[in-house]
């Protein structure tokens, strides 16, 4: 840190302190690098600001109370809202996380507590890292071939399973990382009291890593809440209220935004912007909360 400060103070030294015998070429290269780095960082922050500003400007003007009370309108009909899509999205995301959490936590526990450096654990860890960045469209195709094709229809169940498959690697990874941060002394203390491994894990290590694991689950939720591509082939969409039946298409926000944004109807496009604002706000809030949880844990 200090070295950076010193270095930057030399580079911005006043004219009275010359660069000494630094060749102009070296000075130029250095200035170019610094200028370029500052410029591209400013560009990155600017683009983020631009995207968020556009979302707020076009989304807020499309917001109205009926967004949360009315169902999505049919083609050409006036008004309408996004209530059914929001409810459907909530159900699919919750179902996905409910399936992914036990599997992800247990798999992460296996890697950190049982498998450790064994060959099987190394393979699972590697595959999990690959699945972590796998294109979500392939997960959608996979669930389509194993669930939608045999059942003969799009279904909310398939959508939830696709989301669960995307969320699981995130939870596995964070669970393992967090469990490995727990000092071994705690485990040994538990074992010395005669507690079996399962007892040590459930009452000591899980408890010590609780908030970190929670962060993983929140991040996984944020990740799947905005996923569109896998839902396109599984839950698809419909215009109706969620009927309690997860067979058949289930209305959801991302696919609704996709279809409405590309539609020729003005009110559909308005609704797409409102939906985009709602979903982005929800996801950014989730990620901020997740980060807050983990910060608090480290400070403790």
């Amino acid at each position: 840190m200090t070295s950076t400060l010193q270095a930057s103070s030399t580079s911005t030294a006043p004219a009275t302190v010359p660069w000494g015998r630094v060749r102009p070429g070296r000075r130029l290269a250095d200035r170019l690098l610094k200028g370029a780095c500052i410029a591209v960082t400013a560009l990155g922050v600017f683009v983020l600001g631009w995207i968020l500003a556009m979302l707020v400007v076009r989304g807020v003007s499309a917001l109205s109370p009926r967004i949360v009370t009315a169902a999505t309108p049919g083609p050409g009909s006036e008004g309408g809202g996004l209530a059914n899509a929001m409810a459907g999205s909530l159900i699919l995301t919750l179902l996905g996380i409910l399936v992914a959490t036990p599997i992800g936590v247990m798999a992460g526990t296996y890697l950190a507590e049982y498998g450790k450096r064994s060959r099987l654990a190394e393979v699972v860890r590697f595959i999990n890292d690959i699945l972590l960045s796998a294109p979500s469209i392939l997960i959608g195709l996979f669930v389509y071939t194993v669930m939608v094709m045999p059942m003969g229809q799009y279904s909310g169940w398939a959508g939830a399973v696709a989301l669960a498959i995307i969320a699981t690697p995130v939870i596995v990874r964070t669970t393992e990382d967090m469990l490995r941060l727990v000092p071994n002394g705690l485990r040994e203390a538990g074992a010395a009291l005669g507690a079996p491994p399962s007892k040590v894990i459930t009452t000591i290590t899980w408890r010590a890593a609780r908030s970190g694991m929670m962060t993983g689950i929140l991040l996984a939720t944020a990740r799947i809440a905005g996923e569109t591509a896998p839902l396109l082939f599984t839950a698809l969409n419909n215009q109706f209220w969620f009927s309690g039946d997860l067979m058949g298409g289930v209305a959801n926000l991302p696919v609704t935004i996709y279809q409405f944004a590309l539609s020729p109807y003005a009110n559909w496009q308005e609704l797409a912007w409102a939906g985009a604002l709602i979903i982005t706000t929800a996801i950014l809030l989730l990620s901020v909360v997740a980060r807050f949880v983990i910060k608090k844990d480290i400070a403790r």
Partner: protein, 324 residues
């Protein structure tokens, strides 16, 4: 003292008894965790199997080589060739890398070497927020805000310059200056991979022992020389790994590309509408029947092979560095 020992002994006996009675739960817990870990492997095996089985009819129809190199995608006559989509995927990902990688590296260097402490946190979180924004939002921004700008300030002036010039004119001339096309998709992808590449590169640069940097500064190196001769050689391999992770994301990104790529079944010029594997699947899948469905899954199979090889290499490169 004796009482204490007595108490400890009885506690131990109790724990032993409890352990025996809980042995069943202990074993079940262990098996459940092993089974969950195996599910991860099962998912990958399932993806591979479903892609091959689902795409098989299309591969058989045209032959593996014929399917990959065929350039017609004719739904009415059931002739399917993947080449335009494959080329579109590679072209957009390449553009994304060419634009995105220098920007990502610049941000990483800024965050680790140049930024004052008060600026570091906010800029780093801003970059990470960029990663959390769903891809469909990038698509909408690209189609409704960015594409009109491309049409007005890039395609139209460029058309005036390159019209009629051989080769350069063929590549850069856009017949329909609508703003959507391979180039626009590549730029949007560049924006989307920046947060990933930048944050991984930043982590890698942070891991370099500061003694190395300080000694370089100590002998009078400029920041550029420290980056060029200390940081890059130290973190080079893992930075390539980070770039390949970004490439994996760019290859498989679906929604943002579907919005801005133009969805044409051909690849003509850089600024003209085209399609990528992912956008083709997203666009046609819901109406696809029979052989077309299998052809789309076969496209997915090719995408799987390409992205997974890229991701495997990326993970190996990053992991190799972490061990040292």
């Amino acid at each position: 003292m004796a009482a204490l020992v007595e108490k400890a002994m009885s506690g131990e006996r109790q724990a032993l008894n409890r352990r025996l009675s809980h042995g069943g739960f202990d074993r079940a817990f262990r098996w459940a965790s092993l089974a969950s870990a195996l599910i991860v492997l099962l998912v990958l095996a399932g993806i591979i199997a479903s892609m091959i089985v689902g795409g098989w009819p299309a591969f058989r129809e045209a032959g593996l080589f014929g399917f990959v190199t065929g350039s017609t995608w004719d739904i009415n006559n059931d002739v399917y060739g993947a080449w335009p989509a494959i080329a579109g995927t590679l072209a957009t990902a390449l553009i994304a890398l060419v634009i995105g990688v220098p920007i990502s590296l610049g941000i990483a260097i800024f965050l680790t070497q140049l930024a004052p402490r008060w600026l570091k946190g906010p800029v780093a979180s801003a970059v990470e927020l960029l990663a959390a924004v769903p891809s469909i939002i990038y698509g909408m921004w690209g189609l409704f805000v960015f594409a009109p700008l491309v049409a007005a300030y890039l395609q139209t002036p460029l058309n005036r310059v390159v019209e009629g010039i051989p080769i350069v004119g063929t590549v850069l001339y856009s017949r329909v200056p609508s703003g959507t096309g391979i180039m626009t998709a590549g730029i949007i992808l560049a924006i989307m991979i920046i947060p990933f590449v930048a944050s991984i590169t930043r982590d890698m640069l942070d891991q370099i022992p500061s003694v190395l940097r300080e000694s370089a500064y100590g002998i009078g190196c400029t920041t550029w020389e420290v980056v060029r001769h200390v940081l890059v050689p130290q973190a080079g391999v893992s930075i390539i790994g980070a770039i390949m992770l970004g490439l994996g994301r760019a290859l498989g990104e679906t929604m943002a590309v579907t919005f801005v790529v133009g969805n044409a079944n051909r690849l003509t010029a850089l600024f003209d509408p085209g399609s990528t594997i992912a956008s083709r699947i997203a666009n046609e899948f819901n109406e696809a029947l029979g052989l077309q469905l299998h052809a789309l899954i076969a496209l997915g199979c090719i995408l799987f092979l390409v992205t997974f090889s890229v991701l495997i290499v990326a993970r190996l490169l990053i992991a190799r560095v972490k061990v040292h």
